[in-house]
């Protein structure tokens, strides 16, 4: 998108990873995975995070810059759980055939 002439910013809870894949601007937030904008129902919190992330479009000066957003998750991060309705298909496959986990770790994905 950036190459096509659109300015972009990526919000991320794993911003050094996002940076490493070449994102032009990264807004890093120390929030749990699954909740980069905040909690359901917290409109004021979401709006603040959204505004701060968009501002990075103006404040980032150089390609690949990571700007840390000044927000703190109100509870201990380890208390946040993401409930999946069913185990992921890849998780089920790897449990059945554990040697595939090593391939997955190396990024050796079958076609």
């Amino acid at each position: 998108m950036e190459t096509a002439g659109l300015s972009t910013v990526s919000l991320s809870t794993l911003p050094d990873f996002t940076q490493s894949v070449g994102a032009p601007r990264v807004a890093g937030i120390r929030f749990p995975m699954g909740r980069p904008l905040g909690s359901p129902g917290d409109a004021d919190g979401q709006r603040a995070v959204l505004a701060a992330a968009l501002r990075v479009l103006e404040t980032a000066r150089a390609p690949g810059e990571l700007v840390r957003l000044p927000f703190q998750w109100p509870e201990p991060l380890e208390s946040v759980r993401n409930e999946l309705p069913e185990p992921t298909p890849i998780g089920q496959l790897v449990r059945k055939r554990p040697w595939l986990y090593l391939r997955f770790l190396k990024g050796d994905i079958p076609d």
């Binding site: 998108m1 950036e2 096509a4 002439g5 659109l6 300015s7 972009t8 910013v9 990526s10 919000l11 991320s12 794993l14 050094d16 990873f17 940076q19 894949v21 070449g22 032009p24 890093g28 120390r30 995975m33 699954g34 909740r35 980069p36 904008l37 905040g38 909690s39 359901p40 129902g41 409109a43 979401q46 709006r47 959204l50 505004a51 968009l54 501002r55 479009l57 103006e58 390609p63 690949g64 990571l66 700007v67 840390r68 000044p70 991060l77 380890e78 946040v80 993401n82 409930e83 999946l84 992921t88 298909p89 089920q92 496959l93 790897v94 986990y101 770790l105 190396k106 990024g107 076609d111």
Partner: protein, 176 residues
């Protein structure tokens, strides 16, 4: 406030994940970091308060009146993920959508769309004059794609074409 992301920061985000997934994320992050890349750069052409903004979410959001993302395909081949995208019009509300992503907790965005695709929040920023406008169209794709070629060659150019047609100046990508 610019800054390094520390090991402590990185580990904090991973706390809610199981051990196997944490190892995976760390391993992939280290592997990708080793590759040097040319980073594209388009400076913001106008002040943010004059910009038309589009949002892109990787949470697999689709309107209920639109085609779901293909989950049966992923169940049949767990190495595959649906590489298509959906258009989410700017007035779309929580009741209008469903989440089709086997690796996220769907209850979050299905109880409050703005957790994943903050359309109402963006309209509030527009009303407050902090941005020029929320674009007519926003986008979602499903982020579990291990081989992104089709996403990059088909879906992304289609999103870009629509963004340009709608006068979009800047894009915020919101992860899972």
């Amino acid at each position: 406030m610019s800054g390094r992301w520390t090991d402590d920061d990185r580990e904090a985000a991973l706390l809610g994940l199981d051990v196997a997934t944490r190892r995976l994320v760390r391993s992939w992050a280290e592997r990708d970091a080793a590759q040097v890349r040319e980073i594209p750069w388009t400076p913001l052409a106008k002040p943010l308060r004059e910009c038309t903004i589009a949002l892109v979410s990787s949470s697999g959001i689709a309107r209920r009146d639109d085609r779901p993302f293909d989950q049966e395909g992923e169940r049949r081949n767990p190495w595959w993920g649906d590489p298509s995208f959906r258009v989410i019009p700017r007035e779309t509300t929580t009741a209008d959508v469903r989440v089709w992503h086997l690796h996220v907790d769907p209850s979050l965005a299905e109880s409050d769309l703005d957790c994943a695709l903050p359309l109402a929040r963006l309209r509030e920023l527009e009303a407050a004059g902090e941005i020029g406008a929320s674009a007519p169209s926003h986008y979602s794709f499903m982020g579990y794609i291990l081989k992104p070629r089709e996403l990059l060659e088909r879906s992304v150019p289609a999103m870009i074409a629509r963004m340009r047609a709608e006068g979009v100046d800047a894009v915020l990508l919101v992860p899972v």
